[in-house]
């Protein structure tokens, strides 16, 4: 049994202060455990950065679940986060400083360390298959109809 999550963000969504929105769904082996939709605390400069911030907050939840599970029983590691932005995945797996990523706050690099320790892995998922999409924006009726039944059915598989 391991922790599997879906993370997404919507860039500069808030029209008043231009903050992005983080959304994530965490599951315990496919069984939904938490869902979060939250405006981010600071303005980000690119959608990749916004996704990266969302990954970091999702990682916090994963670590909590792993801690609890390890205490009472056990859980397989690494936990898995599905993410639809390849740039953000690249940032996790490559500790480099680029022109457009040099300013990213240290606390968001939290996820990079977790990946290096082997506690969390990040994998790509197509945007239209990412259930966390529903938590970041008001999606169209079609997409809603496609993603939501899975969300409520009790078994979410990437």
């Amino acid at each position: 049994m391991k922790v599997i999550c879906f993370a997404d963000s919507d860039y500069a969504k808030n029209s008043d202060d231009c903050c992005s929105v983080s959304g994530h769904v965490t599951t315990l082996g496919g069984m939904i455990t938490t869902w979060v939709s939250k405006t981010q605390n600071s303005v980000t400069l690119s959608s990749t950065e916004a996704e990266y911030v969302s990954l970091a907050s999702c990682a916090q939840e994963v670590i909590f679940m792993q801690m609890l599970l390890d205490e009472v029983w056990h859980c397989k590691k690494p936990g898995l986060i599905y993410e639809d932005n390849t740039g953000a995945i690249f940032l996790v797996k490559n500790a480099q400083v680029g022109l457009r990523t040099k300013h990213i706050d240290i606390r968001h690099h939290f996820i990079r360390e977790l990946w290096q320790k082997g506690l969390i892995n990040v994998e790509y998922i197509k945007s239209e298959d990412n259930v966390a999409d529903v938590l970041t924006k008001n999606v169209t009726v079609d997409l809603f109809g496609k993603l939501v039944p899975g969300l409520l059915s009790g078994m979410i598989i990437g």
Binding site: G29, T136, N138, T140, G154
Partner: protein
């Protein structure tokens, strides 16, 4: 050293039980606001189990084929051990009912032996009491979530207890659950509510007919109905049904005009949030937008509110399913 006398108050309420019956309750509470911070109490915060932890307990129970049972502790807060001495005035009505003479009521007071409802730190003292009890019978407290207690032998987990103030959930094999209940009832007065049916306003049932795998279904039809009816009560009509909780492609901006029906807006948003965090992940985004405008809702926001209520009205089944984790 003198002590301040704390007054008391009677609280009467009607409670709807799990079977739909109405029970009239009365309880005597202290006026906790008369306690002095730093003198009568130092700390008052008391944690409750996170939703995530509760669902993890469900997941483990489904995975291992365990039962989930529920109990509540009767008058739980009365078990808390007081840390400082506390004196109460006699409750109202004792003289009139003849339990006490006028003279006694004026010259004597109550020397409280245990904590009671109304005290600022009542929940905390109860939490500490139950913690000591669980540690005494050999359970461990989780470091990740202090409201989770567990028992494990070697690599095997035997029992999981989720404490939500005076409600407790047990996940484990029948024998372990029975053992723990027995231990508890030797110390406290408990109501054994049997298999999990209702917790925090959410109804649960096990779905075993549709497939081989056992599933747990959480249902909140009652709350959904309450939201729709409240909307009707404040606006005078039912919301128009819709397929999604938010208007596709739109997001709400700050209200520039007049504030419209602030109190009613807040009241409905509160209900919607509860519904969303407990069983409706698909409403999270729309609910987040509604919440952000709690201080100043305008026309736009009431349109978004109708959309949300309309979605809930049209949704039909207000359920989320928990399947066996892979």
């Amino acid at each position: 050293m003198g002590h301040r006398l704390v007054q008391t108050k009677w609280v009467f309420c009607k409670k709807v039980e799990a079977d739909g019956k109405i029970r009239a309750k009365s309880r005597i509470v202290s006026k906790g606001f008369m306690q002095i911070p730093g003198v009568d109490y130092l700390e008052s915060f008391s944690p409750v189990a996170r939703d995530c932890s509760v669902r993890i307990a469900f997941g483990l129970a489904l995975h291992l084929g365990w039962n989930i049972d529920m109990i509540d502790v009767e008058a739980a807060f009365l078990n808390g051990e007081l840390k400082t001495r506390m004196f109460l005035e006699w409750p109202e009505g004792l003289v009139e009912l003849g339990f006490l003479t006028d003279e006694e009521a004026r010259t004597t007071c109550i020397d409280l032996q245990k904590s009671m409802y109304g005290n600022v730190d009542a929940a905390l003292l109860w939490q500490e009491t139950i913690r000591k009890f669980f540690l005494k019978i050999g359970l461990k407290q989780s470091c990740a979530d202090p409201c989770i207690y567990y028992k494990r032998v070697g690599d095997n987990m035997c029992l999981l207890v989720v404490v939500y103030v005076d409600d407790m959930l047990f996940a484990g094999p029948t024998s372990e659950i029975a053992w723990c209940k027995e231990q508890l009832s030797s110390e406290y007065k408990i109501n054994d509510l049997g298999s999990l049916k209702k917790h925090l306003g959410i109804h649960y049932h096990w779905n075993t007919n549709s497939s081989v795998e056992r599933m747990l279904v959480a249902n909140m039809d009652g709350m959904a109905n309450e939201i729709v009816e409240k909307y009707k009560k404040v606006t005078g009509r039912y919301p128009v049904g819709s397929n999604t909780p938010g208007i596709p492609g739109k997001s709400l901006a700050k209200n520039q005009g007049e504030t419209i029906m602030l109190e009613d807006y807040r009241s409905i948003v509160g209900k919607v949030m509860y519904y969303t965090t407990k069983i409706a992940p698909e409403c999270s985004n729309a609910a987040r937008e509604l919440v952000q405008h709690m201080s100043n809702p305008g026309n736009e926001h009431w349109i978004a509110m109708e959309r949300m209520c309309g979605y809930i009205k049209a949704k039909g089944k207000h359920e989320i399913v928990y399947c066996r984790p892979k």
